[in-house]
């Protein structure tokens, strides 16, 4: 066999797969693997790395070797695994650092500490990383300490091993959050396909447990919440595999439970029938299943996408349509009241729309748009097709909203393009001298609704004021006295029923609403966010927006532009099916629950996360279970399709396997959703207690069943290695703006943080809860330069201000905001290199754009900031703030509040939190311990 080495384009490696006796091609940048040789690029890499066909891989799980290399870089697979002993910070500090009270001495001490070095390899985003068994590779060094525990038993020949770790001695390790979830070990022969894509990637759908307990009592014993975290519609970065589409409209579904055929069904009866993997019903294989309709000849069933891919899209036949596929419709409701005009929002918004007219999905020229401006009156614009001039129609009767003209208001984007461009160019100037204060948002929404109700689509609201007149008017209910009291959760509930009832009307008419909020003062985000929440839209909040600050304008234009260009799903319904005895019990996310298990989503934006709690109703006897999410939708290009996401998970009756299979990232995502819900229905305090108690329960359960200490006293706080980061994630949630105990957080900011917590997919949510912290001044030389996987990022540090050196430069980022922290003793050369200023003293803190300078350090820093903004999915473009160590206290405290392992005010440090947990766990264990003693005395 000819070695493919010479033909490989850059960024690809070939790996000999012993099982299949052929080369597997790996794109090292994304981890994407394929059997076909990749098309050679224009410039051939001089020395493509091709490993010789090895023989010792024969016993390894398929692809494991290649994936290890794709993840860590060729030839360095073990060296880059987190060095636990080296990574552990210096001996646990007894003195606790309080933000804002930084004593000089502390910083001096810290300067002596050598920077930790984890291995200089850029880690790919954890979600894109292919699965590979990480935990079995190298048990952490703390293992020896806990050698007396029976947690290390092997679960059969092929399965997950449980490694216990002691939370008291092993501090959080940020790199662990980038690991893939525990591997899914399905029983042999459960899958029809050998494809690595047969199970949906974790970025589409992941379960809090990768081995499902067979009974509810076993699940209860573990105390781990069972749920699915899904993002069925996620964006694809360059180089990522597209979702395969089944175009022949042959859709095989189970007659009884309506499950779509997937790689986990069984063919029986000589391949004429298939057995459903959920309800075991035997179904007929459709006649055309083995027929290649394109070439009109018999086809290969085993090559069908739905039998090889966990994520697949079917083109739906007419049975799946209530009406012909609708065109995409966008209506912009633009606030033109005094404050909106003055903030420059209108000018920025119209310019962004104008610049992005070509990016609005409109492949076959059917997309319709309309613009309605509003202050205390409504302004409609007729956009005659072909003409270049628009005319304005004013409706000042807002009590009984009507459309002033039946036609030319909602127009075809292409036909009315000239008129639209003129209008967008002029709109801001037209209202330049508008001094009207107040907003008739409710009536404007009704007008937009009337316009698009027959078709459905997307209403984008851009407003900078609190709705003040007409239906849906709101009062300023911000009351500083209420903050921090049990009554605070009232401010997070909808103030007016209009926003819920209107949302339901919208949902029925397939209308989705996106909110872009800009108010300089209180805007009642909690109430306004109801509309996007129940109509499957999104809320964006730009507090105190001022377009004269370029950073504000760039951020909004960037995010709004991305939303405009986003290919949305329209008229969608989502349903999650699961194997017998599993029931979807409650739903979290942006949608309207239309029946017990049907979620209505008039439009599905990309990269929104949904969480579903799952109940085990009866003993599961099957060796594995299947979760299948189906989203029936119309693409914005006018095609009816069904996206099907299938995940198969093994079942287990072994508690240690349940613990070993727990996915801490999915658990944290689910807990975030549950915490927000609880804070609204109960009190914020209840939601914090529930989070804390959940963590205590899990630890108590683990201690009782998995450690030798059992119910007795123990000097350790044990948890399995794969759940090691869960406590710090829970702490991060407890300290998040959406949940945190504080009397200072404005309700609007809280409500927005809660909207983020319930809609961000894990990839963006985890940094939002546990931010990234990098040191720049002493980063390894390759960081910030382009490596094999793009820009090489510095190693993340634990989130504690002990790591802040007085002469240092740091990045702290949570996906929504980037802080560039600079120590007060920063050498002038550093300030010069990065900011082009002579010294630290003249540097000013606050929102900024870094200058691009002609020196390597500046370029590396800008590259890291750039990569931070681009590395995740989603539309967010974080602001960059310069934070001076002795700068304005609010900004400094804000940046320090991201360092969640520190103590802040009443909120505990990580060490304190862990000891609180430990105390609670030993108290919980006590009663049974006492009984135990009593019985044997």
């Amino acid at each position: 066999m000819a070695s493919p080495a010479q033909q490989l384009p850059p960024g690809w490696t070939a790996e000999w797969d012993a099982t299949h006796q052929r080369y597997l091609f790996i794109e090292t940048h994304t981890g994407h693997t394929q059997w076909e040789p990749p098309a050679a690029g224009p410039e051939l890499s001089p020395q493509p790395s091709v490993s010789p066909p090895p023989s010792h891989h024969a016993k390894r799980r398929q692809y494991a070797a290649g994936q290890t290399q794709a993840y860590y870089g060729v030839g360095d697979s073990l060296a880059a695994v987190p060095q636990y002993s080296a990574a552990a910070p210096q001996p646990q500090p007894t003195q606790l650092f309080t933000p804002g009270l930084a004593a000089d001495g502390q910083f001096q001490q810290q300067q002596q500490q050598p920077p930790p070095y984890y291995g200089g390899h850029a880690e790919p985003e954890y979600i894109n990383a292919p699965q590979q068994p990480v935990y079995p590779v190298q048990p952490p060094s703390q293992m020896g300490v806990l050698a007396d525990q029976f947690g290390q038993m092997t679960m059969g020949h092929k399965g997950l091993r449980l490694f216990t770790t002691n939370l008291l001695t092993s501090p959080p390790e940020p790199l662990e959050l980038r690991q893939p979830p525990p591997e899914i070990f399905l029983p042999p022969n459960s899958c029809l396909s050998q494809s690595p894509y047969a199970n949906a990637d974790a970025s589409y759908q992941r379960c809090t447990l990768n081995a499902i307990p067979t009974t509810n009592s076993l699940l209860n014993k573990s105390k781990i919440p069972l749920g699915l975290v899904l993002t069925p519609y996620r964006s694809l970065k360059e180089g990522e595999e597209e979702v395969p589409v089944v175009t022949d409209t042959v859709i095989a579904r189970c007659r009884r439970c309506r499950t779509y055929i997937n790689p986990y069904v069984q063919f029986i009866d000589g391949g004429n029938r298939w057995r459903c993997c959920m309800c075991s019903l035997s179904n007929e294989v459709p006649q055309l299943f083995d027929w290649d309709q394109v070439r009109n000849q018999p086809g290969d069933r085993w090559a069908r996408a739905e039998l090889n891919h966990g994520v697949v899209e079917f083109v739906a036949p007419t049975e799946y349509m209530v009406r012909p596929p609708q065109p995409a419709v966008y209506i912009f409701l633009i606030d033109v009241s005094h404050s909106a005009i003055q903030s420059g929002m209108v000018a920025t918004a119209t310019r962004t729309i104008l610049e992005n007219l070509d990016r609005i999905p409109d492949e076959n020229g059917r997309t319709k748009v309309s613009i309605i401006a509003f202050d205390t009156s409504l302004y409609f614009f007729t956009l005659p097709s072909g003409g270049a001039e628009s005319s304005m129609l004013v409706v000042s009767d807002i009590d009984d909203v009507f459309l002033p003209k039946p036609t030319d208001l909602l127009v075809n984007l292409q036909e009315a393009r000239p008129a639209l461009e003129t209008l967008l160019g002029r709109l801001s100037d037209m209202f330049q001298d508008n001094h009207t204060v107040g907003s008739a948002l409710g009536p404007a929404l009704q007008a937009g609704f009337q316009m698009m109700a027959p078709i459905g689509g997307k209403i984008m609201v851009l407003t900078a004021s609190l709705p003040s007149i007409g239906v849906g008017a709101l009062k300023n209910r911000e009351d500083p006295k209420v903050l921090g009291t049990p009554k605070e959760s009232g401010l997070l509930q909808a103030a007016s029923p209009f926003y819920k009832t209107f949302a339901i009307e919208c949902s029925r008419a397939q209308v989705s609403v996106d909110m872009f909020l800009f108010s300089p003062g209180y805007q009642d985000v909690a109430t306004l966010a109801c509309l996007p929440h129940y109509t499957a839209g999104q809320t964006f909040f730009y507090p105190a927006f001022n377009a004269s600050r370029t950073e504000d304008a760039i951020k909004f234009a960037h995010e709004f532009g991305k939303v405009l260009a986003m290919p949305i799903m329209l008229e969608a319904v989502m349903r999650v099916r699961a194997s017998k005895n599993l029931r979807m019990s409650s739903f979290h996310g942006n949608f309207f629950v239309r029946s017990t298990d049907l979620l209505a989503m008039p439009a599905v934006p990309q990269d929104l996360s949904y969480a579903i709690e799952v109940q085990i109703e009866d003993t599961i006897t099957a060796p594995f279970v299947v979760f299948q999410t189906a989203v029936l939708h119309t693409t914005c290009y006018g095609e009816r399709r069904i996206r099907v996401v299938t995940t198969a998970l093994p079942t287990t009756s072994n508690l240690s396997e349940v613990f070993a299979s727990a996915d801490q990232v999915a658990i944290a995502t689910l807990l975030a959703n549950k915490a927000v819900e609880r804070s609204i229905t109960h009190r914020l305090e209840d939601s914090r207690d529930a989070l804390f108690n959940k963590m205590v329960e899990v630890l108590t359960a683990y201690k009782a069943s998995m450690t030798a200490a059992g119910a007795g006293a123990s000097a350790q706080l044990a948890i399995s290695e794969n759940l090691k980061m869960l406590p710090v994630l829970v702490l991060g949630l407890l300290k998040n703006v959406g949940i945190r105990q504080s009397a200072q957080i404005p309700p609007d900011l809280r409500a927005y943080a809660q909207a983020l917590l319930t809609s961000l997919p894990s990839q963006i949510l985890i940094p939002y809860v546990y931010p990234n912290f990098y040191s720049l001044h002493n980063m390894p030389p390759e960081c910030g330069t382009v490596g094999e996987h793009g820009i090489i990022m510095p190693p993340p540090l634990p989130l504690t201000s002990e790591r802040l050196e007085r002469h240092g430069l740091y990045v702290i980022e949570d996906g929504q905001t980037i802080f560039l922290w600079i120590g007060r003793d920063a050498v002038p050369q550093l300030v010069m290199d990065v900011f082009n200023l002579p010294s630290y003293e003249v540097l000013r803190g606050g929102k900024t754009t870094l200058p691009v300078l002609d020196n390597p350090f500046s370029q590396r820093v800008t590259a890291i900031i750039q990569k931070t903004r681009e590395m995740r999915r989603g539309v967010y473009y974080p602001h960059l703030y310069i934070v001076k160590e002795d700068g304005e206290p609010p900004l400094r405290l804000w940046a320090l509040s991201c360092l969640i392992q520190d103590r802040a005010d009443v909120l505990p440090s990580y060490q304190q939190f862990i000891s609180q947990l430990k105390d609670k766990v030993s108290v919980n264990s006590m009663p049974s311990f006492a009984i135990f003693n009593w019985m044997f005395m």
Binding site: P497, K500, A503, I504, R508, C530, Y534, S586, F587, F592, V593, R594, S595, T596, E677, T681
Partner: protein, 137 residues
Amino acid sequence: MGYAGWLFLFAVLMAAGLLFTAVFFMIMFSDLESDYINPVDLCNKLNQFVLPEHTAHAFLTVLFLISGQFIAFLLNAPLLAFNVRKIMNQNHVYDATEIFRTLEPHKKEIFIKLGFYLLSFFYYLYRMILALVQESP
């Protein structure tokens, strides 16, 4: 038939009516659970009955108070207070967006009300008979 007799006859009829609404609510909730009705229609339908039901119960309770039937009044006072509090907090209407999340508490509440109306039905019946018996000799 004397004053007390008429009063309790009226109470029996009212209790029967309230009992009937509670049963109706129960049926509607189970319809929702088995997908025979969508949450929007359900809430629209039920919300028509919430205020009349509360008003009827409040009327009956007040009637007991002014007619000096203190035991009957005290029996009904807790429910009246509960209803008033719900209306004050504005959460007496069923919210279609939250109905699946709050279905269990709603069902529990209706179940308790059902039991209460049933018991009070028999209590009023007993009091009515008692009043008739005391009159007749």
